[in-house]
């Protein structure tokens, strides 16, 4: 029983990170049909912003040493700024391009950002510790649940509720949903394209910053390619959930998180290192059985 509870919490915490990442990708896909490969690198930049820019081997905390509220605000601000800069410099000129061109541009952008960080910080792994007290274990007998997992799940639920309220209740949120449904009609009805897309990137940056803080507190290390596994699993989540659906992205994120933990427990020990083969394989399985993903979106189907 305790094992089950522990696995469930593990799955939810991991799924939360994937869901938040997939949501950041899904928001932008909705408004401009861009699958943003560079989203993982925004997460990475949020991590590196915590330390003093230098290529020295030992990392010195910079923003990471600030009190928690100031640190969170600063990281969110920096990552949002990067997200908006990416939109303005790389994606806005390509707004009329087809989704494949956008995808490959974001792939190039991802390499650009990663090697920008390598140039400034060097390519070595850096240790960084924020909120070490969160890694302590909840004092409940039998289960080993770090506070961080509870915080991760709580923050995710909070953000999801806020995002739903934003999309359903605010004028900007309604405009964003309209733009996802049919961008050109929405523009004809007075939705401002630049503003909606910029807001989508800003929210995506916010989500990346939150994932960044949660992920860095968990792993305690920085590498320039640390965003890649997150973004790849989030891609799996978006496809599994159904491209273009935000509900699908969240659902897909939790499916990937749960599948990872279930496989970790259920696979024979010898096969456990191969867990990710099966997680990636989820994509092929879902696409074979249900090509449009778990949640089907009408506006995504190509029109003749």
């Amino acid at each position: 029983m305790t094992g089950l509870v522990q696995n469930a919490i593990d799955a939810l915490a991991l799924g939360s990170l994937y869901a938040l990442t997939a949501l950041g990708i899904g928001l932008i896909f909705g408004v401009m049909r861009l699958i943003n490969f560079a989203h993982g690198d925004l997460i990475m930049i949020g991590g590196y912003a915590l330390i003093v820019p230098s290529s020295a081997a030992a990392a010195v905390a910079f923003i990471g040493a600030w009190p928690a509220p100031a640190m969170v605000a600063a990281i969110v601000f920096i990552v949002m700024l990067f997200a908006l800069a990416c939109e303005r410099l790389a994606f806005r000129p390509l707004r009329r391009a087809n989704p494949s061109v956008l995808l490959i541009t974001s792939f190039a952008l991802s390499f650009f950002l990663e090697h920008l960080v390598v140039m400034i910080y060097g390519g070595r792994v850096k240790a960084v510790s924020i909120w070490p007290e969160l890694l302590e274990v909840l004092p409940i007998s039998g289960v080993r649940i770090p506070y961080l997992q509870i915080v991760t799940i709580g923050v995710t639920i909070g953000l999801l509720v806020l995002l739903v309220l934003f999309l359903k209740r605010t004028p900007m949120g309604i405009q964003m949903r309209a733009a996802s449904e049919d961008f050109s009609t929405a523009r004809l009805l007075g939705v401002r394209a630049n503003r909606v897309i910029a807001v989508a990137f800003a929210i995506s940056g916010l989500l990346a910053a939150v994932v960044s803080l949660l992920y860095v507190s968990q792993v305690g290390a920085l590498t320039y390619s640390m965003g890649i596994p997150l973004v790849l699993f989030a891609f799996v989540a978006t496809v599994v959930g159904g491209m273009g659906s935000l509900t699908g992205a969240v659902l897909g994120g939790f499916v990937v998180g749960i599948a990872s933990v279930v496989l970790q427990v259920a696979l024979p020990v010898a096969m456990r290192p191969d867990r990710d083969v099966f997680v990636y394989g989820l994509i092929l399985l879902i696409l074979l059985m249900r090509p449009s993903g778990l949640v089907k979106v009408k506006s995504i189907e190509e029109k003749v």
């Binding site: 989704p99 541009t105 190039a108 790849l232």
Partner: protein, 377 residues
């Protein structure tokens, strides 16, 4: 006895052949000139760099066969390089090296097979893998297909880096015989160029290119798009496999981590910068990016320019290539060549075979520009 018309045709046959294969002939000669120049200069360091670039050329041509003809983006082709490279290692490592750390079946463990048949067998293995994973993926279009190929890359990378008995896991596998020089790499570039060109001019290639221009029209014309894509995918994987084989016999070592996103990025950058819509574009991209990489490499090492030593920090190489790629995508999405092949300079010879895309576009004023840029001979 041959009639006057037939005799005429026989006399013209070499010219028509030259006309039909003009693009791969010119491109092969271009590569030959580069190789001859480097060989004559006797610069062995440069020869190594040119060999590496020629191996990249085989890979980019492989990538082009699928992406260029189908218009579907694929991120998973490093998988086929990896399958080819490890395949050839299993065949050509000396039994002493194999017994050292690998646990292979008897027919592999006890023998060392000859190089050329091993290369082809390893590339065929890559093609078979492509056939199997291609069956589900080729039904998808656009970005769903691109992400699915990325998932395949993730699957195989994870699998190979844990399959210690056969691959040494994440460790580097040493001791692969080194025999690939400039000339062998050049020979494979020529083979790849002709194969890619014959394919794109064949009925399969033309059908796939038609589906690239307009998926719905092509389907309405009776083209089985998933099947045509699968043909290109398998052929493409064969040459990616050859690319991996050449890399293994050039470096002498292979490691799973080298078949991941960096090589995927560099090969895609070459294809995009040169122009993904033509074979000429693919090769031009290899030449341009390889030259750039060479210059940046020497800058990273510190280049002596008269009075000062110019140097750039580590990471500048990828940064520059990524920046160039974004600029090309924004300002010239069809790359340097813009879909053109090598133009035929001698006027009209023989019957002109047209690209179906071009014929269709003639009736569609909006699309005329696209077909002209395609420049089918």
């Amino acid at each position: 006895m041959a009639g006057p018309g037939q005799r005429d045709l026989i006399l013209r046959l070499p010219v028509v052949g030259l006309r039909v294969f003009w693009t791969p002939i010119v491109l092969s000669l271009g590569m030959l000139v580069i190789v001859l120049a480097v060989w004559a200069s006797g610069d062995t360091v440069l020869a190594l760099a040119v060999t590496a670039a020629l191996i990249r050329a085989v890979m980019v041509i492989g990538l082009y066969i699928f992406i260029g003809n189908s218009g579907v983006l694929a991120f998973g082709h490093a998988t086929f390089m990896m399958v080819g490279a490890y395949g050839v290692a299993w065949l050509t490592l000396r039994p002493f090296n194999k017994s050292f750390a690998l646990q292979l079946p008897e027919f592999l463990a006890a023998h060392q097979y000859p190089m050329l048949p091993s290369a082809i067998a390893a590339a065929l293995l890559a093609a078979i893998v492509a056939f199997v994973v291609g069956i589900p993926i080729m039904r998808l279009s656009g970005i769903a297909a691109a992400i699915a190929t990325l998932a395949v890359l993730g699957m195989f990378k994870t699998f190979y880096s844990n399959w210690s008995e056969w691959t040494l896991g994440a460790a580097t596998m040493p001791g692969i015989p080194i025999y690939v020089d400039m000339w062998i790499a050049l020979a494979w570039v020529v083979v790849a160029l002709f194969a890619a060109y014959i394919y794109q001019r064949s009925k399969y290639g033309l059908a796939l290119r038609a589906s690239r221009e307009d998926e719905f029209a092509a389907r309405a014309a009776g083209i089985n798009i998933p099947r045509q894509r699968l043909v290109a995918f398998v052929l493409s994987a064969f040459f990616m496999g050859i690319g991996g084989v050449l890399e293994a016999h050039y470096l002498g070592t292979i490691a799973v981590k080298n078949f991941w996103l960096t090589i995927t990025f560099i090969l895609l950058a070459m294809l995009i910068v040169g122009g993904q819509r033509s074979l000429t574009g693919a090769l031009v991209g290899v030449v341009v990016i390889s030259t750039l990489i060479e210059i940046l490499n020497s800058l990273e090492a510190g280049m002596n320019v008269g009075i000062a030593v110019l140097s750039v920090p580590i990471g500048a190489q990828e940064l520059t290539i990524a920046g160039l790629m974004i600029i090309i995508l924004v300002f010239r999405p069809d790359g340097i060549m813009g879909g053109r092949e090598v133009p035929w300079p001698f006027g009209k010879v023989g019957r002109i075979v047209r690209d179906p895309g071009a014929v269709e576009a003639e009736h569609d004023p909006l699309r005329r520009g696209v077909a002209q840029r395609d420049g089918a001979p």
